[in-house]
């Protein structure tokens, strides 16, 4: 295991503040939020940035949590696992997530993301209110508001990618940058 140092250097150079790979549980979520809150406190981030990052973190982590929570999700070892990283480069925060998604769901998901990305600030506000007021709420809660909220709060386009793994699954990556 002489490459642990390389691994460390890669994370250091990539300005990774925190990373996690594995199953996202409710307790883990609580811990990550506490850690990030105290880190941002130590870094004396302006309240505005702190709140934005915290809010987006909550939505990203809960997306992973609810996704993994799906009962109909077949359990192969990898698929319950997700990747989550936070980095800060030149004062700008990025929140990155990665998880497996069934190929059957890729088109629907991509359609939603593209629809959000095509909207400006005001259009997002209207769309948010529309989904909030008329959208069906799933038992788990989200009801499709999460990504709209992330786009609104981050003030940037959702940077995403789907990598096809095999006939069944793709790896979904999302990189959210928080506008200063």
């Amino acid at each position: 295991m002489d490459n642990i140092h390389d691994f460390y250097n890669k994370m250091e150079k990539g300005n990774i503040m925190l990373s996690f790979k594995g199953e996202v549980t409710s307790d883990l979520l609580t811990s990550i939020l506490q850690i990030m809150e105290s880190k941002m406190e130590t870094l004396e981030e302006p309240p505005k940035i702190k709140k934005k990052v915290y809010n987006i973190l909550v939505e990203c982590l809960q997306n992973l949590y609810h996704h993994l929570d799906d009962d109909d999700f077949k359990t192969k070892i990898n698929e319950k696992s997700a990747l989550f990283m936070i980095r800060k480069v030149d004062g700008e925060y990025s929140i990155m997530t990665g998880n497996f998604i069934a190929n059957d769901n890729v088109d629907l998901m991509q359609g939603r993301l593209d629809r959000i990305n095509a909207m400006d600030r005001d259009e997002l506000k209207v769309y948010y209110k529309e989904v909030l007021n008329n959208g069906e709420m799933s038992a788990k809660g989200g009801g499709g508001l999460g990504m709209i909220d992330i786009a609104r709060k981050s003030g940037k386009k959702l940077d995403y990618n789907f990598n096809k793994i095999d006939d069944e699954y793709s790896f979904f990556s999302l990189n959210i940058k928080v506008a200063q």
Binding site: L29, P47, K125, A139, K140, G141
Partner: protein, 127 residues
């Protein structure tokens, strides 16, 4: 009587509902994974309150953070209050937000646009 008192936690807000003086307070963070379950008791308390509400009902919302799953439940709470407001009680919602927290102000305005109850936006100093 449909009073309710829930202590806040890292993921759930403090909720105080006093049917005797028509007062509801929601304060803190609302980021539970399962919001529907959390807000169920408040929704039920408001339904019971609607049977014999006070002449005036005052609501203070002092949220620091809330997730999108809570935002649906908060809308449900406001919809219950809307029914109460169109009945025998005059409802006012005080939406508190910290200065510079445009996202929280905007969230209040989103609700204001949907819900037919007088909203008052109250800016508070950062702690």
């Amino acid at each position: 009587m449909a009073d309710l008192k829930l202590e806040g936690s890292p993921k759930t807000p403090t909720i105080e509902f006093n049917s005797g003086n028509g007062y509801l307070l929601i304060r803190g963070r609302s980021i539970p994974e399962n919001s529907i379950e959390f807000y169920k008791s408040l929704i039920e308390a408001l339904e019971a309150y609607n049977d014999s509400p006070q002449a005036n009902t005052k609501v203070d919302i002092q949220l620091e953070y809330f997730n999108t799953s809570s935002s649906k439940c908060i809308l449900d709470v406001f919809k219950k209050l809307e029914v109460i407001n169109s009945g025998n009680s005059e409802v006012i919602i005080n939406w508190h937000y910290e200065e510079d927290d445009e996202d929280m102000l905007e969230a209040g305005e989103d609700y204001q646009a949907i819900i037919n109850i007088p909203f008052k936006m109250i800016e508070v100093e950062e702690e």
